[in-house]
Symmetry: C2
Subunit: 423 residues, 2 copies
Amino acid sequence: MHDLGVNAIYFCPIFQSTANHRYHTHDYFQVDPILGGNAAFKTLLEAAHARGIRVIIDGVFNHASRGLYQFNHTLENGKASPYLDWFTFRGFPVRAYDEPINYEAWWGLAPLPKFNHRNPQVREFIFRVAEHWIREGIDGWRLDVPGEIDDDEFWREFRRRVKAINPDAYIVGELWQRADRWLAGDQFDAAMNYQFTRACLSFFVEHNDASRNLLQEYSYGDVKPMEAGEFARALDEMLHWYPEEIVYAQLNLLDSHDTARFLSIARGDITALKLALLTMFTYPGAPMIYYGDEIAMEGRKDPDCRRAMVWNPGRVNREMLETTKRLTALRNKYAALRRGTLTTLHANGKTYAFARHYADETIIVTLNAGRESMMLDLRVDPLVPNGARLIDEWTREEIIVQEGFARGIPMPARDGKVWAVQK
Amino acid sequence: MHDLGVNAIYFCPIFQSTANHRYHTHDYFQVDPILGGNAAFKTLLEAAHARGIRVIIDGVFNHASRGLYQFNHTLENGKASPYLDWFTFRGFPVRAYDEPINYEAWWGLAPLPKFNHRNPQVREFIFRVAEHWIREGIDGWRLDVPGEIDDDEFWREFRRRVKAINPDAYIVGELWQRADRWLAGDQFDAAMNYQFTRACLSFFVEHNDASRNLLQEYSYGDVKPMEAGEFARALDEMLHWYPEEIVYAQLNLLDSHDTARFLSIARGDITALKLALLTMFTYPGAPMIYYGDEIAMEGRKDPDCRRAMVWNPGRVNREMLETTKRLTALRNKYAALRRGTLTTLHANGKTYAFARHYADETIIVTLNAGRESMMLDLRVDPLVPNGARLIDEWTREEIIVQEGFARGIPMPARDGKVWAVQK
């Protein structure tokens, strides 16, 4: 990870569970023995922190499992259990292993009994789990389906309890739509920015029936192709949805355990993935690499997108790996990419250019999603003064700004460039 | 406890469980939250140790519960679970909440799936539980139904692993019959000595249909009344069943969570309980007071014998409490009672007398289980020389030994006396 240039890891659920994805939690205080248990996690946390890498874990607090102590108690004792009010039952004895079940469950799925978050004991239990792992050293929580806990005060209290222990802890919600309700500053620090993903899928991927099929069902749904103008507007609008601190903390991503991989939706067109990755790494917010994207792993819809990581060096796409490392290094190098304002400079047809600016640092990104190479005369005033030079970050090619334009910018087909401005 | 004069506590199961008796373990590494969890237990251990009191806990390793992680895994995943070989299944999917169940369970009871102890993973799991709690500071294990794990090597390994961490740890098995197989020195340090209990019930309790009824079903079964001669032989024989170290470590008891209380079997006759308690506290082996016996709590068969402890001072039998304290003090005072040899001096009809002897200390106990007071001429030679005095431990009354006899020992009805020999 360190070699890849990343400075945080977000783990899908790690707590003891009988499901391979671990969204059925059996014990919120134990790391799954298959992962080495609490001891292995402690070692990992220490090793990560020693390398300046933060660790975020997945908090599944909407529902638990049939084996969770408190739910199992209701199965074993029925109406005599003191934990009845931890869930919502429609009858007794509890029917959990025969349909129809008689309790509320996530999407009606028997293995996923939903907590009753109105119960103060349940709230306290969850808050203590949250506090416990923050005390153990995690650096934040990714919250699974938090919108299904329809209670702002629950999440406000969650935030207070977590931040009281570690004010720097990162709280990011799985919210697939615009999420003003949770991103006003009193609940989450960020959301998983699937809006950004959708925009990238719209602009960089050449769609056909196969790609459209991969977008459907518990995933993005319809994603309409976009021209550069729409794309630029979409990216710009998102920057004004939420308070600035939140915009700059958004979790941007190109795919996840819940979606077909970007590369597979693009039917293996690695140029689409590279263009999107370049955009993500130069756009405001925290770029997230879904494991394996950096070596061009493919994966269709869940569960195919959850394939085991490819460790075999012979099966690694080295060029993709080098590209990814170049992008993490780029972002680590320029504060403008992490903290700078974004200004759209050009958007037309399949070409798009924008600048990031912070203090005396200006970075310009030029992208050509089209199939034909071309040259671009890019208007850069008033941001960049005449006489300044645009230096290609990797080839060191230079273009001098004259009369407000950087003329003759090479725009190779299906590729992008990053230019540092030297005044 | 300290005030009562005891120096060890044996707790019935304390691990997280959905059953009030906790013989259905949900998690072997967590103390039940109802008991305050691991934190409360740690505090208790420290407080006990600070007072010189050791703590033994109940290890239920024959069977677990339907909520145990590994069993729950088989319920959730059926044949795909890696834990199938932790139990013994007769079909799939696993049927655990509908009769007939399709796995081996203790006495066929659905909530108590039996471990497959032939599986090395199961063995290792149990050994690690045993080691974990010894490391946490417990002073030994009481083993629930260990005879149902029909594997001497399992228990030998258990002993090696426990003793490697704490050579003084006490390992005591729940074995209701003579237990030579487990008490040769390579497995347990002791057994729960229900044979001793049976003998006391035979000699001190006046039986009728009501008492006989309380002895039946998952308990002692038939207990025939005994005269003093038989009682003396029974007590003497037990001392030769096992190696001496084991005899002196046996867990002697008058009742438990599995049996009607001694006092209830005696239909409230407190003289029976007091005579038996005096015998237990002056007999080789570790006397165990089942909570509440010291204040004359009653309780018929399980679950009545598991009533909550009476803490209300107004409902405490103070005389019984004082008697019990007198007996713990007595045993703490005389090494002869803890480590001495036992010699039967007299056994006839309803009267019985024996001596305990260690180094230069000799203690004589005289008991009259009959309904009539009498005087006893007790032959004490060659153990006690002529001219020595027998001093009543509590009244200080003295009897001088002459011609090998202590003559005129008062034997009040349904009572006993303890005499210290002064040479």
